[in-house]
Symmetry: C2
Subunit: 333 residues, 2 copies
Amino acid sequence: MKRIGKQTLQFETAPTILGRGAVGGRKEAAGPLGGDLHQTFDDTTLNTQSWEKAEAQLQKEAVSIALANAGRKPEDIHMIFAGDLLNQCISSTFGLIDYHIPLLGQYGACSTMAQTLLMASIMVDCGAADLAAAVTSSHFCSAERQFRTPLEYGAQRTPTAQWTATASGCVILGRGGKVRVLHGLAGKALDLGVKDPANMGAAMAPAAADSIYQYLTDTHTSPNDYDGIFTGDLGAVGSQLMLDTLKDNGVDLKAVHQDCGLLLYDRQAQDVHAGGSGCGCSASVLCGHLLGRMERGELKNILFCATGALMSTTSQQQGEGIPGVCHVVHLAV
Amino acid sequence: MKRIGKQTLQFETAPTILGRGAVGGRKEAAGPLGGDLHQTFDDTTLNTQSWEKAEAQLQKEAVSIALANAGRKPEDIHMIFAGDLLNQCISSTFGLIDYHIPLLGQYGACSTMAQTLLMASIMVDCGAADLAAAVTSSHFCSAERQFRTPLEYGAQRTPTAQWTATASGCVILGRGGKVRVLHGLAGKALDLGVKDPANMGAAMAPAAADSIYQYLTDTHTSPNDYDGIFTGDLGAVGSQLMLDTLKDNGVDLKAVHQDCGLLLYDRQAQDVHAGGSGCGCSASVLCGHLLGRMERGELKNILFCATGALMSTTSQQQGEGIPGVCHVVHLAV
């Protein structure tokens, strides 16, 4: 492991992706990436008694698929890094408990897939784990119930609102795979005063701009050195704000930028307003779509920059802002 | 970094504690360890408008003291590992945001101090960070409001209930300090079916027994090789269960075991029933009391085994059990 520049880590042994699993619900199955998900569930309760139990089941399924894809068993995995949006990360705890893998809960809101991937990569690189897993999930119904209003209210959504994905993604990290993790950057939490919980994209855009700018500076690279720079999930509003902020600082990301929240759904046809969100959104786009494209050689060199909004209903009610955070992982074939 | 046995990590460069900070509220100041805390607050609102903001302030203060103790500035710290009990870990986010340190949120319930310490130690050992910080907090009033009943109800507490500490602890990890981190173990979540949220000690005892047993097996050591094995926070009920479980498996911990939840308060005089709990309990006992004793040479070789109960009010209401987890860190002078 080598630190380069101010915040970036360079992996010397290049941990690799050995297996991946992406699952989703009915809406995700119907979206443009539906075919890239390994498993989708028409009944979004997944045959459980609650949305929270369904979300836990999503994680369990994603891990199971990733393990099978890597040809490994749970007991082969030395550590699992997992997190989600639910209070006290219960979908991770209850989704993973039967695997009996040492569990290190992570909280980075919707940035959690990049955070868990970064942590698992560090562990493999430094030998703390031969094999490590990274997983996260979200569920539209459990998130609406917890953060917004009960579904039964039929509350009107604002145009800047994003749609929490019912999805989960898991990767197994180890040596000898095709897709390599070359660099990573842990982001700073930034609060620029956005207080509208129906506009998370705007709240997270400054953190995305900050982390990507710092990463490019640290590595002396420019946007065109990458086949794609994927944020997740800024949506339409946040993506534009991030592009504008970076342009003001002399970095033009437009030609290579895409946002996981804009990839998972057809915004117009699926009525998701500003785009998708939730830990499971960037997780399923990474584990289902992006890593698939890398394995097939369609993408060779990408930045995965998941973003999170670090708030709770309590912090909102007490008048706090919505700090954003963005962690960056550099993947290459 | 070397893996030994099934779950244990051995640190080859032995990251060390360069600074520490422990803060508490009025009740903690009045307890047996009051004199070991660097700062206590008679007004447990810490002059803020809410209990949640007060808890965030506790973290801010603990980090500030630890930084001063290490003779470092926030910009010297490459990563901070932080977590707490509040929904979406808001005391960590809002307590730390002004420091602008790359933030990696951790969730391990009351085991979070051991988890953050383990993560920060790994980062320093492998060179991902020259300096890393670990911090966690809890606040009696924010925890009661979130997990139990509003304080104004004056609800009766059961004899097995524990008292959430109003406290925070922070350590700065780097090279060249006196107290060294020699080994660490990330624990598995274990659910043996305890469902009583007023008896967290019983819920966490199996995980503590499992992690300690595994650690001793992996390192080929016995309890008497240590000056002390400190769990946190099993309280009176959980401690006895853990001792009994280990004894049934041929390990007698009694002579060297103490529990942070039983050290922080005078159980009888301070009416804390089964003992203290909350992320801030083991954090303040470690950062205020135990590390102080190590610096003075009174303790030379200890295991710090913080335990957490991975549940939420939602998982409780949906009939789930209370999985426990325990992470182990071996500290020596």
